[in-house]
């Protein structure tokens, strides 16, 4: 159960955004992508989700090239939370979350939907918000609503063995520390349930606390990839972020 990224390069307006990136995402693991602004993190996530096509190289989901998977089928395999756009019309929070529901064939809608919907709402802690208008919420609340929608999209019947991946682009942006920790715990639990998670974070300590593996990008080049504590070392971080960095153990903490 893997997504394989195989020497993927991406050019935009003849400028190299990503250069020969290769790694694997395994289900049940949290892979965190770190890197300075403009290092190509979001582009990489867009490539994995199939929204962009690599200029060179290929991406395989369960051994099947993503090019050969239909747009509709991809939605069942992975759900994506990105840095979202403004919504013009005045939708309610309930309507926004419902947009994450994928209907597969004739599967019993009324039973499954209600259960999946209330679970997604509970997990994102937005019970109080469901009947409000989306556009009056604060930035952090809107993030949680989108997170809930992403969770609803990743719902699968309890007996299903189909692969699922969660791709999250800075899900903790604008969140207070309580909701940040809550969201990360849910992500962790999803990984324990067998879902593969790719997450872009800016907070290195948050990444250290929750991720199993880390990939560090700098100017489109993969600087490092591996187990969290192998990757997070002083030399690499100082080089990538161009800052003096101190790492203290027990508890593990990166000070900058």
């Amino acid at each position: 159960m893997t997504i394989e990224v195989s020497s993927v390069s991406y050019l935009k307006n003849k400028k190299l955004i990503l250069d020969k990136i290769s790694f694997e995402i395994e289900s049940g693991e949290i892979l965190c992508i770190l890197g300075p602004n403009g290092s190509g993190k979001s582009t990489l996530l867009n490539l994995i989700s199939g929204y962009l096509s690599p200029t060179r190289g290929d991406i395989y989901i369960e051994g099947q090239n993503i090019k050969n998977i239909s747009i509709e089928e991809r939605a069942f395999i992975r759900s994506v939370m990105s840095q979202s756009q403004a919504i013009v019309f005045d939708f309610t929070v309930r309507e926004i979350v419902e947009m994450g529901w994928l209907q597969r064939g004739l599967i019993n809608f009324s039973e499954n939907f209600e259960e999946a919907f209330s679970r997604a709402v509970n997990e994102a802690a937005i019970e109080d918000l469901v009947d409000k208008k989306f556009n009056v919420l604060s930035g952090g609340e809107q993030r949680r609503v989108h997170f809930s929608r992403t969770l609803l999209q990743s719902w699968r019947p309890s007996n299903s063995v189909e692969p699922k991946y969660l791709l999250l682009d800075e899900p903790t942006a604008n969140l207070d520390i309580k909701h940040e920790q809550k969201l990360m715990k849910i992500v962790k639990k999803k990984a324990e349930d067998g879902i593969g998670v790719v997450i872009i974070l800016h907070d290195i300590n948050l990444a250290a606390k929750y991720s199993d593996k880390i990939l560090i990008l700098d100017s489109g080049i993969m600087k490092s990839f591996g187990r969290t504590f192998d990757v997070l070392n002083k030399e690499i971080l100082e080089e990538v972020y161009d800052l003096p960095i101190v790492i203290s153990n027990d508890p593990f903490k990166i000070i900058y």
Binding site: S79, V80, Q85, I87, E95, E98, M99, L102, L106, Q153
Partner: protein, 344 residues
């Protein structure tokens, strides 16, 4: 089974309140239909409709009144629906087939054919097929132009779109002006008659193909409602939720071009219905397209039959052009909208 289920799947996302509103608009449409066919320069009482003995009254009712009211209803429904779906596609509440130049494109297409083609094409083909096709082509050309100028209907293209609408409207009136100038007397008569905007020309022979095509297009469009909802999250998000965005755009554009083109070819330019109707529907019951699209169609139909009834009654037995009535009611509403959005 699977097909029927997936066709009606969009209905799962309408809440109870919205079901009540939708059903009341369906009743309103039936009500206005009955009121419209029984009033006019000839009046019938509703009870006597089914037991008409007098042959003159019968002819008026079945050959003139009913086709006319049906046409008004269908044109209203297609303008309301295409307004709602274009607003959804552009993610912009100001999109309206009239404002963005689609109706003007259709009008220019129709005018070109009236002046250049009416002497060549036999009459029975002309009104039923040639005129609608030419209007649909004009509408499709304008929508394709909009597509390229707004870089694929992106969110950034709002101002572009309205400015292009102004330019297209100006170009179309130049075109129609030139055509008026070069046309012969009989062509001029056809052109003038047509641009005034009226349902007066309706006969079964002309409206049946149009009603069939509009009905099929509407049935093809309505299930796209949920996809239009997802599109509101932005194109990348809709894509990630499994929507083929290019296909959806194509569907909305083609169906709007067809319905608006046919409506304009049969009834002339009728402004503001496509803008006002979806707004009213949103104000009453919510913004999700599963509710918005069908409700806009029914409210559009009701309002258009009402406007047509007013146009027949106000200075009876003469008629006020129906386009005049919709603009007189719609333009102040549009001003109010702009005023309100300035306050936010």
């Amino acid at each position: 089974m699977n097909f029927i289920f997936s066709y009606f799947f969009f209905l799962k996302f309408i809440n109870r309140f919205q079901v009540v509103i939708l059903s009341s608009f369906i009743f309103l449409t039936l009500f206005f239909f009955l009121v419209s066919i029984s009033n006019g320069s000839f009046s019938f009482s509703l009870l006597s409709l089914f037991s008409l003995e007098d042959s003159l009254n019968k002819v008026v009712l079945y050959e003139i009144r009913i086709p006319r009211v049906l046409l008004a209803g269908f044109v209203g429904a297609s303008l309301g629906l295409s307004g709602a779906s274009l607003q959804g596609l552009f993610r912009n509440p100001l999109a309206d087939p009239g404002l963005i130049g689609v109706s003007a494109g259709a009008a220019l297409g129709a005018a070109l054919l009236i002046v250049l083609g009416s002497s060549i094409i036999p009459e029975f083909i002309f009104n039923t097929f040639a005129l609608p096709i030419s209007a649909v082509t004009g509408a499709a050309i304008v929508i394709t132009m909009l597509y390229f100028f707004t870089r694929g209907f992106g969110y950034q293209g709002i101002t572009y779109m309205l400015l292009i609408g102004i330019a297209v409207n100006a170009l179309a009136s130049v075109g129609i002006g030139v055509l008026t100038f070069i046309s012969s007397d009989s062509e001029l008569r056809g052109l003038t008659f047509w641009t005034m905007g009226s349902f007066g020309g309706a006969s079964w022979q002309i409206i049946i193909p149009a009603l069939l095509i509009i009905s099929f297009t509407v049935l093809w469009m309505i299930p796209a409602a949920r996809k239009l909802d997802l599109l509101q999250l932005g194109e990348p998000e809709a894509y990630r939720l499994g929507i083929d965005v290019q296909k959806l755009k194509f569907k909305v554009i083609i169906s709007s071009a067809i319905t608006v083109g046919i409506s304009v070819s049969l009834s002339g330019m009728i402004g503001f219905v496509g803008l006002v109707v979806p707004h009213l529907v949103r104000l009453i019951g919510g913004v999700n397209h599963s509710y918005l699209l069908p409700t806009s169609a029914f409210l559009g139909a009701s309002l258009m039959m009402l406007a047509d009834l007013l146009s027949r009654l106000l200075i009876s037995p003469a008629e006020v052009p129906v386009g005049l009535i919709t603009s007189a009611l719609g333009a102040p509403f549009f001003l109010w909208l702009i005023y309100r959005s300035r306050q936010i």
